[in-house]
Amino acid sequence: MIINHPLLGPRDSQEFTYLGDAGLIERPDWQAEDAADAFYEYLYLRDNPAGLHKELWYHEQGDRSWLVVTRNISSHEIISVELARDVARQKGRSK
């Protein structure tokens, strides 16, 4: 596969390390009432869609960017590639 890195352009997927569901960005609030349940769901429960999937890729053999790749996991078509940092900020994560 070719991943179109937002900073570096198209790169072969073998330069990357795959982590999994981009939901891992949304780490729960440790002080919430339901923190124990929220962390359990965050860590263990995943959707397994036959179609579009947002996933985390790490450019380990490159610039070390973590990317969110939106990929159709049935066809391997890649719809978009974003810096995970930007996605995290869009989701309200900051410090």
């Binding site: 891992l24 923190a35 380990e60 070390r64 960017s65 973590w66 900020r89 994560r93 410090k95």
Partner: protein, 984 residues
């Protein structure tokens, strides 16, 4: 006589003679020959034995789709089994042998299987070898293993090199037949970057095998001219001997180039083969079509081959497969074989055409509406029996028979991303439907079976593909040539008779086997394939699958498109594992990382151990030491007595900087870091989000916004990746930057009561490292040896007064030599990883054996370190009830009740009076060493409710070795439990 069946013409170089041998007998051929064509030219048509029944077999085809003529090439380490004689290029001195026969190809004792064929029908493995059950392992399986498989391996290492290459292009044209050449010319002249790949060693495809007019000359001449023009274009790369084996995602294609297969030895510096990864914007599949056979009784004798292949042997290679030839066809294309042979003066006994309206061919007899119903000839074809239209039978003497059941467009690569081909009723064949993105198909592969149509489709296909990527190209002028409409009557197998009609000659699958499979309930073609083995092995049924599924369609009363094909998967043709490995073998697969003191350690005669990719000194034997324990005990004792030095460079080092660096560390470590003072070091316990221990290390604060963190050797890469994840994905606005500096700094541990005294001779005088100025867990940037910048950390893994000193890597060798010299007056030793391990076990420090991915902070006795006042990775989930049970495993120390006894790591704990079984398991021993300080074996282990069991006597059980040792549960800190030495 040499080359008795060689005739005039052909694309071989008669000016050179190549000597080769087959089964020990010498023959001659010419450059341009394949092994198969050269053997046929020498009158040899028996080239192998069938897989199951050991029936005599010759080549069915003249290409990579060959099911029969599999031979063993070369000798010694280069011996290569299951190579297709039809694609193996002849070279001087080639040694080839037939396979799957004993004692000889002409007389094969295993041919008795043929007489026992009723036992070997579809699924015979499953049926025959079921009972009694106990016979399977001892009797059946060994026999089957001996009988199965064709060639043999020498088990010697392959002496050749294999390479990988990467290419980028605008248009990849797959196949250099008429449509591929037309496409490449079109794209090349337009200035696009083009790769033209063909599996053959000569470009031209069928043009080299046909005789019809091509403009003012021959197809071969036109192909040669096209190749000459393409060779002049700097933007075109023509790759012959290169098979595109797979179409992968996003325009990535894999291709195998056989760089040196046609040579006795690779040229100096050249690889045997190259596996290319081709990145292309568009691809045009011009893979042509593959002829398919018709099944009839005894259709597998040497001399029976596909009509087009027979024509190839005659036209391209000037090799006659027989003196008297017959043709059996259901289509006009098959007739060409007859006309070509007649024009060369070959005796064509008859054309047997199952159609009723075949035109007359002058020079032979045409038998319309006729079928070949049987053949005879022991080691090769002698005659065919024909059932005429009127029902009468006739025997026709012939030693070669060309069979054509029509042509299948070569759709293979169009289906590599789960596309399914579409049935074309006119052609009675599957044609491409949905292709991988970016791929289009032209020519015979697309069902455009006439040469003129293929040429036109090639040029228009290239124009369209380039237009897609914004390159304007003009169609090229093409010569006038053959443009016959395909005329074929679907005809798969001859119904007559009770004998065996072969569908898949490689796996010995007959029409009857397919019928039997259907009778037994196998209806899907995928099940059919697996039950009968139809379409498996090196040819993947390229000539067989269509017949099998046509029969299955007939039996199930479905149409062929309803029945469908099996799934086509890469690779298109077999690829040696060596090519996939490329240079990733040996050290190329797993390079060695050397520590900065490696050269010095080698000079000392150190024994090394692999730790991941690192090579670390394990111990340093001294003269007279004959057992490793002598060296290790000496190193441990000398360190604890005076001072020892150890290279610890392999530990991961991560430089953490930024105004939020302290906060960042506070979140990735379970224990707090916010209040760590500048100039201080702290142990850090890193959890995974699930609450298990991930890693540990020390973190030194060099400045308000500058930390140095260490990781274990094994986890250096993973921890760094994790920290990047936390930094970018979880807390994107924290001001923190990290970089790995593992290889930038050489780091040595200096441990023992005289460690400071030694270092005072190394550290420049303006840096005070006295206990007061540089206490335990202190750190600082210093200079050594007269101005060399260095870092000093007062940390201890051994439990002694100890430091770790770091200098830029290139000074590591100098520093170890300087420290050894400075240590001479203290009898300093340099110790290896064994002594390091002994001392850390004596001190009760957890290491890789304990940080094994299944242990929590509580297990390791560090539960109290996990701060509940802050958020850190793992801090929430480590509070789960299951991880905090009263009787959880706790890291403890263990010593033998009888000091003379020992035990081993991995032993399980069992209560004194309990039976040693899994239900009584109380935990396990993780680390064991002989402590020269205590004079007996010591161990660390995880014991259920261990904290409350100090003083208890339990058993350490090793059922594998049958050893049980009584051990006492003690503190994990065997040496200096109060830590006085550390602070000295």
């Amino acid at each position: 006589m040499s080359q008795i069946n060689r005739i005039g013409g052909g694309r071989i170089d008669r000016s050179q003679v190549l000597n080769f041998s087959f089964d020990g007998k010498s023959y001659q051929g010419h450059p341009g020959d394949t092994l198969a064509s050269a053997l046929l030219a020498n009158g040899v048509r028996l080239m192998g034995r069938g897989f199951k029944y050991h029936r005599p077999r010759g080549p069915l085809t003249a290409g990579s789709e060959e099911p029969n003529a599999l031979v063993e090439l070369r000798t010694g380490a280069r011996q290569e089994p299951n190579t297709r004689a039809t694609t193996a290029e002849l070279f001087e001195g080639l040694q080839a042998r037939s396979q799957n026969r004993w004692p000889s190809l002409a007389f094969d004792a295993m041919a008795v299987n043929d007489r026992l064929s009723r036992f070997f029908a579809a699924g015979f493995y499953y049926k025959t070898f079921m009972w009694p059950k106990a016979f399977w392992e001892k009797l059946y399986e060994p026999i089957i293993r001996r009988a199965a498989g064709l060639g043999s391996l020498t088990a010697q290492a392959d002496p050749d090199e294999y390479d990988k290459g990467f290419l980028h292009t605008d248009l990849l044209v797959i196949g250099a037949g008429p449509s591929g050449l037309a496409a490449a010319l079109t794209a090349g002249r337009a200035g696009a970057k083009v790769i033209l790949a063909d599996e053959d060693f000569v470009a031209g495809g069928r043009l080299n095998s046909e005789t019809y007019a091509f403009g003012d000359g021959s197809g071969t001449d036109w192909a040669a001219l096209a190749v000459a023009e393409l060779a002049q274009m700097p933007n075109v790369r023509l790759m012959t001997r290169t098979t595109v084996i797979g179409a992968f995602d996003h325009g990535i294609y894999s291709a195998l180039e056989r760089v040196s297969d046609h040579l006795a030895l690779p040229l100096p510096g050249k690889p045997r083969q190259i596996l290319w990864r081709i990145y292309t914007k568009r691809s045009l599949l011009c893979a042509g079509a593959l002829e398919r056979p018709i099944a009839f009784e005894n259709n597998d004798r040497p001399g029976i081959m596909l009509a087009g292949s027979l024509r190839s042997y005659v036209n391209r290679w000037a090799a006659l497969p027989g003196k008297t030839v017959a043709v059996f066809t259901n289509n006009d294309n098959g007739l060409r074989t007859a006309t070509d042979l007649i024009s060369k003066g070959v005796n064509v006994a008859a054309v047997i055409d199952c159609r009723a309206d075949t035109p007359d061919i002058s020079g032979t007899e045409t038998l319309r509406g006729a079928q070949v119903i049987d053949t005879s000839g022991r080691l090769g074809l002698a005659s065919v029996t024909v059932q005429l239209a009127d029902g009468n039978k006739r025997t026709i003497a012939c030693d070669a028979l060309g069979v054509s059941g029509g042509w299948n467009p070569n759709v293979h690569l169009t289906c590599h991303q789960r596309g399914r081909p579409r049935w074309d009723e006119t052609l009675s064949a599957f044609v491409p439907d949905t292709c991988p993105p970016g791929m289009t198909v032209a020519g015979a592969a697309n069902g455009q079976l006439s040469t003129a149509a293929a040429l036109a489709a090639g040029t228009s296909g290239a124009v369209a593909a380039l237009a897609d990527i914004g390159v304007k190209a003009a169609p090229v002028d093409l010569p006038r040539t053959e443009d016959a409409a395909a005329s074929v009557k679907a005809f798969w197998y001859v119904q007559h008779g009770k004998g065996r009609a072969w569908l898949d000659q490689q796996n010995d699958v007959t029409v009857k086997d397919v019928k039997l499979a259907h009778l037994e309930g196998y209806r899907s073609v995928e099940h059919l394939k697996r039950y009968t083995t139809l379409g498996m092995a090196t040819d993947q049924g390229k000539t067989a699958n269509m017949g099998g599924l046509a029969i299955m369609a007939e039996l199930t009363g479905k149409s062929i498109p309803e029945t469908g094909t099996t799934i086509y998967r890469p690779p298109y043709t077999p690829v040696p594992i060596a090519a996939f490995a490329g240079r990733s073998t040996g050290k190329g697969f797993r390079p060695t990382r050397l520590t900065p003191s490696h050269k010095w350690a080698t000079e000392q005669g150190a024994v090394f151990v692999e730790v991941g990719m690192w090579l670390r000194a394990q111990w340093f034997p001294k003269p007279g030491e004959t057992h490793w324990r002598q060296s290790v005990d000496r190193e441990v004792l000398a360190t604890r007595k005076s001072v020892g030095i150890c290279d610890v460079t392999t530990l991961g080092k991560i430089d953490v900087q930024g105004t939020d660096a302290a906060e960042f560390l506070n979140r990735i470590y379970a224990n707090p870091f916010g209040k760590l003072a500048v100039g201080k070091v702290r142990y850090g316990l890193m959890l995974r989000e699930d609450g298990m221990v991930m890693d540990d290390g020390t973190t030194a604060r060099l400045a308000e916004d500058h930390f140095i963190t260490t990781t274990t050797t094994a986890n250096a890469v993973g921890v760094f990746r994790h920290m990047e994840f936390c930094r970018q994905c979880l807390w994107p606005d924290l001001d923190v930057q990290i970089i790995s500096t593992t290889e930038a700094w050489a780091q040595f541990s200096v441990a023992g009561p005289n460690a400071r005294k030694l270092l005072e001779k190394i550290v420049d005088k303006d840096h005070d490292i006295s206990n007061e100025a540089f206490p335990y867990m202190g750190c600082g940037e210093i200079t050594v040896c007269g101005g060399l910048r260095a870092r000093l950390f007062r940390i201890s893994f051994s439990g002694e007064l100890a430091y770790e000193i770091a200098v830029p890597t290139r000074y590591g060798d100098g520093l170890i030599r300087a420290m050894v010299e400075a240590g001479r007056e203290f009898d300093a030793v340099v110790y290896g990883t064994e002594a390091l391990g002994v001392m850390r076990i004596e001190k009760g420090h957890a290491a890789g054996n304990e940080l094994n991915g299944t242990t929590s902070a509580l297990n390791l006795g560090m539960g109290a370190m996990v701060s509940k006042k802050k958020d850190s990775i793992g801090s929430t989930l480590c509070q789960r009830d299951g991880m905090n049970r009263q009787d959880t495993l706790v890291l403890m120390g263990f010593r033998p009740v009888d000091p003379a006894q020992s035990f081993s790591a991995g032993s399980h704990f069992i209560n004194k009076d309990a039976v040693a079984n899994a239900s009584n398991d109380q935990g396990y021993m993780t680390s064991v060493a002989y402590s020269p300080n205590l004079g007996h074996t010591i161990g660390l282990g995880l014991l259920r409710n261990g904290g409350a069991r100090k003083g208890e006597i339990i058993k350490a059980v090793n059922p594998l070795k049958g050893i049980e040792t009584d051990v006492e549960v003690v503190s994990a800190h065997f040496v200096d439990p109060e830590g006085e030495r550390l602070r000295a």
